[in-house]
Every structure is written in C-alpha cells, then in structure tokens.
C-alpha cells in the first residue's frame, strides 16, 4: 500500500511541471488576445474573410500561429505554407499560380478558445449575454 502511495506521489511530482507549462501557454495566449483587443498588436482593419491577409486570418495564423489545418481540417497544406504565403500572393498578383480553395472550417476547433471563460472573445456558451 505504502509503495503505491509513493508511486502516486512520484507520478504527480513528475506531472506537475507539465501542468505548469500548459498554464503558462494559456497565459501567453490570453495576453496575446488581450493585446489584440487593446490594439497593442496591429492586425489591421480589413475585416473581409476573403482576404487571406485580412484581420481574421492575421490573428489566427500569423499572430497566434495556428496551423492552417487546425481549422481547415480537410485540406492538406505544405509545411512551409505559411512561410511562402506572401511570395505566393505576389505571384498571384502577377497572374501566376492559384491557391486551392480552403474547405469549410470546423467550428468545434473555435470552441476551445471562444467558449465562455476561454482565452479569446467568448462567442459560445455566453450565459447572461
């Protein structure tokens, strides 16, 4: 019995630093979200969803660093997609190349941050709204 308790304590001790890291990441996200809301991080005023460098995509992909596939779950993107995106846009503006249309975003992904008491602006489960 004592052995089991010792093992459990040891396990909890090992898990504690991992929990602390996660909380720190959440804190970073919350700080970034707050900085966007306060205007400390400039994400532009282009609200259109059609613009790949519009506010919506800049917040999620550039500032927060979400991989494209996190939302566009059924589309495959090259690992260097985000790095190349600016050059691609220049190419497309010059009439070369065409990026495939993205699929519909899975809203369940949004729920993680945009739920009530989440790090981002609450869109879901906002009791008392």
């Amino acid at each position: 019995m004592n052995k089991r308790i010792t093992c459990l304590c040891l396990l909890l001790g090992l898990m504690a630093p991992a929990g602390a890291v996660l909380a720190e990441e959440d804190m970073d996200l919350a700080d970034t979200a707050e900085a966007i809301r306060n205007g400390d991080i400039d994400v532009g005023k282009e609200y259109s969803m059609h613009k790949k460098r519009g506010r919506y995509h800049r917040i999620h992909s550039e500032v927060l660093g979400l991989e494209c596939e996190a939302c566009h779950v059924a589309t495959k993107y090259a690992p260097d997609y985000l790095l190349l995106i600016r050059r691609e846009e220049e190419d497309r503006a010059a009439g070369h190349g065409k990026r495939p249309e993205a699929d519909v975003v899975d809203r369940a992904v949004c729920l993680g941050c945009h739920k009530e008491n989440g790090v981002a602006h609450a869109f879901f489960g906002t009791a008392g709204q």
Partner: protein, 229 residues
C-alpha cells in the same frame, strides 16, 4: 413571457421540401443564399437501408454566436428581439462574414449576387417587385449576410395588433414553412405556454437541441431517432 420555438420531427419528415419551397416564395429567395436547406443522409446497411432528412434554418439561439461575433468588432448588425427572433440589419452589415464563421450550424448566408431563377437572366415578376413594397427583411443587399427570420414580417403583425398569443395558431402569424408540411413534421409556437403544441412535443417526443456543446441554446428543437442526448 413569450418564447418562440420550432420543433421539427425528423422521424415524420419525408424530405418533400415543401418547407423549402414555402420559404423561398415567402422570403424572396436569392439563389445561392437560401434561408432553409434540406440535409439528407443514407442510413443503415443493405438491405436494411433508408434515408433521413433534416431541414435546417436559423436556430434563433438564446445566446447567438453570430451576434457575439458581430458585436465583438463593433458592427452590431445582428439583434435579438423580445420574442427571441435574431435579425440582421442589412444596412449595418459590412459583409465581413464573421457571423458565418462563428455559427456552429452554418446558417448565415453571404449574398454574393442577387441572381434570378430564370436562365436568361431576366427577373421573375416576383423578383422584380420593388424594394419599397417589401418588408425590410426582404430588401436584400449584395455583399451582406442574410438568414431565416422566423418570418418576422408575419410575427411583427401579431405584435402590432397585440395578438402574440395567436402566434403559431393562425396562419397569418405562423412562419410559412411550418404551415405547408403535409405530414405535420413541424410546429411553431410559444414554449412557455404549457398547452402549446411545441411545449407538448418537446416534453412528449423528447425533442432536443442540436450541437448543445456550443452553449448557444437554440430555439429550434429536433425529434431525433434515439430521443434526447
């Protein structure tokens, strides 16, 4: 307190699309941005197969995520009125589509073009009706978002005449999609009235809201195979 809800019995629905047709006629359909759609699924394995039908319109959520997204960027084009109807003001809408991204049900429809149902590009007499004669919810604008209004142009009359207690009980004050169903698969009314058909269906048939995990508390309930979840 009146709280308007719709209950759709998917076990009765046979996928005839009468509700879709009624909506399109009643609400000046813009091809490409329908307010009411039918989803079909094949179920079972051969030889025991079948099709299930789910008609989808706006859920008029108690906590609408579309409104939250719209308000967050200060546009405030979406409102929820005292009867619980969620409406979009086309004059305020900037067409950003944040509401379409936030809605878990894929309801808001971006109006990319006000087309016509005629192939030759001419407008039908119905489409040609002047905007001055139309209800504000039917004065559609290109590059804005639109969606089901629970036929607000009909409910509004009940409010003006002080007859909200008749909503869902007389055709004049009932959304058109709910009037035309040939198999009585959908009802509309006040869920706070225990004698209303919607209240009885929600209780007796174990009707449920879909995608509850989003916490938006939809005001459209579905009777599903297997009951509530």
């Amino acid at each position: 307190m009146t709280k308007l809800v719709r209950v759709i019995d998917t076990k009765r629905c046979m996928g005839c699309r009468s509700c879709l047709a009624a909506c399109y006629v009643e609400n000046h359909l813009t091809p490409g941005s329908p307010w009411n759609v039918m989803m079909e699924h094949e179920v079972g394995e051969y030889p025991n197969v079948g099709r299930s039908f789910v008609t989808m319109n706006c859920m008029h959520c108690e906590h609408p995520s579309c409104k939250a997204a719209c308000d967050a960027i200060g546009v405030k084009a979406i409102s929820k009125n005292a009867l619980g109807v969620v409406l979009i003001d086309y004059d305020k809408c900037i067409g950003c589509q944040y509401c379409t991204a936030a809605c878990p049900y894929g309801v808001p429809q971006y109006n990319n073009e006000i087309g016509t149902l005629y192939e030759n590009g001419e407008k039908t007499p119905y489409e040609a009706e002047s905007y001055a004669k139309r209800h504000p919810t039917h004065r559609k604008k290109v590059k804005t978002v639109e969606k089901c209004t629970f036929c607000w142009h009909k409910l509004e009359k009940a409010v003006e005449r002080g007859e909200t207690h008749l909503i869902g009980q007389v055709p004049e004050y009932t959304p058109s999609c709910d009037l035309v169903c040939p198999v009585q698969a959908r009802v509309f009314g006040d869920i706070d009235d225990p004698n209303s058909q919607v209240a009885q269906w929600v209780g007796r048939k174990q009707a449920t809201q879909i995608k509850k995990e989003f916490g938006t508390r939809p005001q459209v309930y579905y009777v599903l195979e297997g009951g509530d979840y």
